[in-house]
């Protein structure tokens, strides 16, 4: 695009003016305040829109009240067009194709397409070159300049670099990477961490809650169990109390002896008794019959006995005969002795005293007198009083006299008795008398014996007779004996007859006995069967058994009557207790147990209630969710803020990266022109510009290399201008658009300004250049507009 004409209706100090532009280099010369910048602003305004009040201070309202705006006639690939823009606010854009005066229907779009890809900004960046840029350039530090130069290949690098720095600063204000940073984002992070820690702490409450819930379920179980235990214990107590009430009855019932006694059937017992009676009867019958059998021998012996008794009597009778004979002999002897004496009377036997007197009378008399004399003498010698001695003599004399008298009387009696016999004879017959006396005794004895014997025999005879049942016919023993013998003989005969008869009866009895025995045995066997059935040995046992059974029945009934008052299960329980005391003890223990359980129950219940209340509180507590939401909000906030931080940081990188990429891409194309331009501007002092890594090195004709930072300000400026122009030139290859230079080289010396002008003239071959300047050293250029 090239600008051919400028028509200003009203814009700043300009109104109703028109300029025709050279299509190559158009130089516009004017003093300060002559309207150079206003003209430039008008051109930009028509193309990119008028400035708004908000955007810039100067809106170039026409000073003389002309209508704001104007138009440009431009040459494009599609011909010439008039671009007219009027009014600052709600401005109207009209574009007319000059060839046929056709008005473009969508002028905004047409213009946008025509300018594309240029924008006001990129136009400023690339093709608008002003004093401002140089001033700006001078203000930046050397490293930044280097950065700027390095990025100069990109559109708008100056501003982008500023922006990048600004982003970085903004980001750094948000957040400091160092741990001790106190920027707002650092604080937000800290605040979030505090919340997060609190949340973690609260989430640990969950574990406690769950643990406690476990405890709750355990306690609930425990309480339920205790409740059961409680009921059970209470029931136990009730039971035990009940048992205690029943114990006495139970105890009494237990005291009733209960034996397992076998019952005896009535019929068995009756049958047994019947059998027993029959057995007894049979046995007694048999016994009697057997007795009957044994009676006969006794009868026979009776006869025999009678016979023996008779024989004894006979012997006794013969003995009697002998004794009488002996009696008669003794009597004869006595008579012989009696015959010796006159009177036929046998005197009495002398006594021993009499005998002595008869034989020793004289001797004893002499002895007695001699003794008396001797004694008289002896006493005379001893006893002094004579009267005493005389007394003794008298006594003695009387004594002797008396002796003599007596003796004579005795002897005379004896002789009278034994008359005619003298003393000596008397003495001789003494043994005979003695014998006679003996005989007398024997006779007496034998008489007694005979009498006795006689009585015995008579008694025996009479007894026998009585036994034989006969009357004795005679008193004489002999006859009686005979009579009895005869009787016995008869009796024997009778007996023999009887025996025959008896033997017949006996065999009959034997038969009967045998029959009875068989029956008896049978009955005994029957009875035994019954006994065996009841395991007894005899009838009494069986009867006792029956009695015992009936007693037991009675006991049982009593027991049942008592025990029925106690339920069966209670009986079983009661039987487990040794005694009433054990039961009481048990009840007491159960009471203690109950108390313990109650206490435990109460404790557990209280504990459960406490934990449950706590759990309820935990469950209804939504602090956790509130905190969670708070943390979530903080997270959102952190993400937002950090994305802001990161976006700023990254935008910074992005800018550098984009600028660098663009520059890297353009530098090779720019370099030829930039080097030439720089060389000329430095009057050939510098020959080369090199980009080495992140440095720009310039080299002199004498091969001295300098870093940008070590160059003088002027040289730096020349380098900058050279590169800006190079950029514009490179881009002009793509976009044909006028370059506007507004006092771009104001600081250059005239020589360099001339060089610059030369270069612009060369440049304008390809691209229209509108050069606004305060002064120009040459008038070589046609169509120079002077304001």
């Amino acid at each position: 695009m090239k600008i051919k004409q400028v028509h200003i209706s009203g814009f700043g100090k300009w109104s109703q003016v028109a300029f025709d532009f050279n299509s190559q280099l158009q130089i516009i010369v004017g003093q300060n305040e002559s309207g150079k910048s206003t003209l430039r602003a008008f051109i930009v305004g028509i193309l990119f829109g008028f400035p708004s009040k908000k955007q810039s201070k100067n809106v170039y309202d026409p000073q003389d009240g002309s209508r704001y705006g104007g138009d440009l006639v431009v040459e494009t690939a599609n011909g010439d067009f008039r671009i007219a823009r009027f009014d600052r606010t709600q401005s109207t854009l009209t574009i007319t194709r000059l060839a046929d005066q056709h008005e473009i229907t969508n002028p905004e779009e047409w213009l946008s397409n025509e300018l594309s890809p240029l924008t006001r900004q990129s136009f400023d960046d690339i093709f608008n070159f002003s004093e401002q840029d140089l001033i700006q350039m001078k203000q930046i530090s050397a490293p930044d300049l280097q950065k700027l130069l390095l990025n100069l290949g990109a559109v708008g690098s100056t501003q982008w670099l500023e922006t990048a720095t600004e982003f970085d600063k903004k980001a750094d204000k948000l957040f400091a990477s160092r741990a001790t940073g106190r920027r707002s984002l650092n604080q937000a992070v800290h605040s979030y961490e505090v919340s997060e820690t609190e949340l973690t702490k609260q989430s640990e409450q969950l574990k406690i809650f769950l643990d406690d819930q476990q405890t709750v379920s355990e306690l609930t179980q425990s309480v339920a169990m205790l409740e059961k235990e409680l009921d059970k214990s209470q029931e136990n107590i009730n039971q035990l109390t009940q048992l205690q009430r029943q114990y006495r009855l139970f105890y009494e019932a237990q005291q009733i002896e209960r034996k397992q006694v076998r019952s005896v059937s009535e019929s068995d017992l009756q049958h047994a008794e019947q059998l027993q009676v029959e057995i007894d009867l049979l046995a007694s019958n048999i016994r009697r019959q057997e007795q009957d059998l044994s009676v006969q021998p006794e009868s026979a012996s009776e006869i025999e006995d009678s016979n023996k008794r008779l024989m004894t009597i006979k012997m006794m009778a013969s003995q009697l005969v002998n004794d009488q004979r002996q009696h008669d002999e003794l009597l004869a002897q006595q008579k012989a002795i009696q015959a010796q004496f006159a009177t036929n009377k046998v005197p009495e036997l002398l006594t021993a005293d009499d005998d002595q007197r008869l034989s020793n009378y004289k001797v004893r008399f002499i002895g007695m007198v001699s003794g008396a004399i001797l004694l008289t003498i002896a006493v005379y010698l001893v006893v002094t009083p004579i009267w005493l001695w005389l007394m003794v003599v008298i006594v003695l004399l009387s004594f002797i006299i008396r002796f003599v008298v007596k003796n004579n009387s005795v002897i005379s009696d004896i002789k009278k008795q034994y008359y005619p016999l003298n003393g000596t004879q008397i003495r001789a017959v003494q043994p005979s008398i003695e014998h006679y006396l003996k005989l007398d005794n024997s006779l007496t004895a034998i008489n007694q014996k005979i009498d006795l014997q006689t009585v015995h025999i008579n008694k025996a005879l009479q007894s026998l007779a009585r036994d034989l049942n006969v009357a004795l016919a005679s008193q004489a023993i002999h006859d009686s004996v005979d009579q009895l013998a005869q009787t016995i003989q008869n009796r024997v005969l009778v007996k023999q007859n009887e025996n025959v008869l008896r033997q017949q009866q006996q065999s009959q009895l034997d038969n009967m006995i045998e029959a009875s025995s068989i029956s008896l045995n049978q009955k005994k066997l029957d009875l035994k069967v019954i006994f065996q059935k009841y395991d007894v040995e005899k009838m009494t046992d069986l009867q006792n058994l029956d009695i015992a059974y009936h007693e037991q029945m009675v006991n049982d009934h009593r027991y049942q009557a008592m025990i029925q008052q106690i339920p069966a299960q209670d009986q079983k329980k009661l039987s487990a207790f040794e005694d009433a005391q054990a039961l009481s003890k048990n009840l007491e223990n159960e009471h203690n147990n109950l108390a313990q359980i109650k206490q435990h129950f109460a404790e557990e219940q209280a504990k459960l209630a406490r934990i449950q209340a706590q759990q309820m509180q935990r469950v209804s507590n939504d602090d956790f969710m509130v905190m969670q939401q708070k943390v979530a909000d903080q997270k959102t906030e952190l993400i937002t803020q950090f994305s802001e931080y990161l976006a700023q940081k990254l935008a910074n990188r992005w800018i550098y990266s984009a600028l660098h990429a663009a520059s890297q891409n353009r530098f090779p194309k720019m370099m030829k022109f930039a080097t030439e331009c720089f060389s000329q501007l430095t009057v050939r002092r510098y020959q080369h510009i090199n980009f080495e890594k992140d440095e720009i090195i310039v080299t002199t004709a004498r091969h001295e290399s300098f870093n940008v930072m070590s160059l003088s300000t002027g040289t730096q400026e020349q380098l900058y201008v050279a590169m800006r122009l190079a950029l514009a030139r490179v881009i002009a290859d793509v976009i044909n658009f006028p370059m506007v230079i507004d006092d771009g080289f104001v600081n250059f010396d005239p020589q360099r300004r001339a060089i610059m002008l030369d270069m612009l003239a060369q440049l304008s071959d390809k691209q229209q250049i509108i050069y606004l300047t305060t002064s120009v050293e040459t008038n070589d250029f046609p169509n120079m507009i002077k304001l």
Partner: protein
């Protein structure tokens, strides 16, 4: 035959994307939102006397929950127990450790599917026999093709239902990758999917799809949220969506908003029976002052003050619609674009954020969403500058 399919309950999960300025009244609603929705679901299960309830994963966040959540889950499942309604529960990527962590005991009507694919059978009230086949996550990810472990439909059952927490993907994807064809090949009568929060149908006959989450949890989870009430329609299991979420997220774009007043007038037309959380995008607005007020948050503040009590403006976004044109037309566009691509591809969050920055922040910016956000914000920043430079 009637049952509920409810994926991704996320009980007790906080909402993300809120800035802490929420009024107290709404805060209360937000805290209880997932719980309210869950209880509504249980209420419906009982009132509709469904045969069973399926929760294909992410019932709650196992790592972060409270006594209250535990107790609510327990209470509500016990209500189902009383109503004799069995619950089939499989764990997803958020509650994968639910069974390993200490928790209140599950009521007996709750069947927790194990890590391996198992088939549970039950006979429903109508006498029909139903098989439910599924599995639980044991780790946060399930990269193997567990779909291959699902058996073919067993013909002895009247219905066979697959419970599956995962997303369509190729082998090696993190969340039990499957293809719709994989599922269809099993010949099941219904596939109750979980994991994706957006309600969507992958296949109509038989139904394969996500019920979406019960309550939207952030500004991207817009629209009514709830569960599927599935019933038999002449032998075919047909889901009917039932909305229960007490808070509904929305996103709306206003074009050509003249100024703040205009914005407020337009925003006042936004209303909702429930509590509505709105994200408002403003596009084609070029008034720099307005834009500046928006970017500095003044507009949002004023907007919020003018809204009904059940309408909350979560965010006010500027859609920089001039940016694309500007960037496209710039001479160095290619360099800028390349640089951005290069920058973002080589972007390492740790180069910018030290360890002291919470992990979730750094982690977020490694995700595509995080990177996207950065990219957008960077573009905004640059565009804004470009715009400023213009003036």
């Amino acid at each position: 035959m009637k049952f509920i399919h409810a994926g991704d309950i996320h009980l007790g999960n906080p909402f993300s994307g809120l800035d802490g300025q929420l009024p107290e009244m709404l805060k209360e609603t937000v805290h209880k939102a997932t719980i309210t929705a869950f209880i509504k679901l249980i209420d419906a299960a009982i009132s509709e006397s469904v045969d069973f309830v399926l929760f294909p994963g992410d019932l709650y966040n196992a790592a972060e929950n409270s006594a209250q959540i535990q107790s609510i889950v327990n209470q509500q499942f016990n209500r189902l127990l009383e109503a004799k309604i069995p619950v089939y529960l499989s764990f997803g990527n958020h509650d994968f450790e639910a069974d390993r962590r200490q928790h209140l005991p599950w009521p007996v009507n709750v069947v927790v599917l194990p890590q391996q694919v198992v088939t549970q059978s039950l006979t429903i009230k109508s006498g029909k026999r139903v098989a439910i086949t599924g599995f639980s996550y044991q780790t946060q990810q399930q990269a193997t093709r567990i779909i291959d472990d699902f058996p073919q439909k067993n013909r002895q059952f009247d219905y066979q239902i697959g419970m599956y927490h995962g997303s369509v993907g190729t082998e090696g994807s993190s969340y039990a990758p499957f293809s719709v064809g994989d599922l269809l090949s099993k010949n099941y009568d219904y596939w109750a999917l979980g994991h994706i929060h957006k309600r969507q149908t992958l296949n109509q006959r038989p139904f394969v799809g996500y019920s979406g989450n019960l309550q939207g949890l952030n500004l991207t989870e817009t629209g009514p949220k709830g569960y599927y009430l599935v019933s038999d329609d002449t032998g075919r299991l047909v889901p009917t969506f039932v909305a229960v979420a007490p808070v509904v997220w929305h996103e709306v774009t206003f074009d050509h908003v003249a100024d703040e007043l205009d914005l407020i007038q337009r925003a006042k037309t936004l209303s909702d029976d429930e509590v509505g959380f709105w994200t408002i995008n403003i596009s084609q607005t070029s008034d720099p002052e307005f834009i500046s007020r928006i970017t500095h948050g003044f507009t949002l503040e004023g907007l919020r003050a003018n809204m009904a009590s059940n309408v909350w403006i979560v965010r006010l976004n500027l859609i920089m619609d001039y940016q694309s044109a500007q960037i496209n037309d710039v001479i160095d566009q290619q360099f800028w674009e390349n640089s951005l691509t290069q920058l973002m591809s080589s972007f390492e969050v740790n180069d910018y954020l030290p360890n002291q920055v919470p992990f979730f922040v750094r982690d977020y910016f490694t995700t595509s969403a995080g990177k996207h956000l950065l990219r957008q914000r960077m573009t905004e920043l640059i565009s804004e500058r470009r715009h400023l430079h213009e003036d």
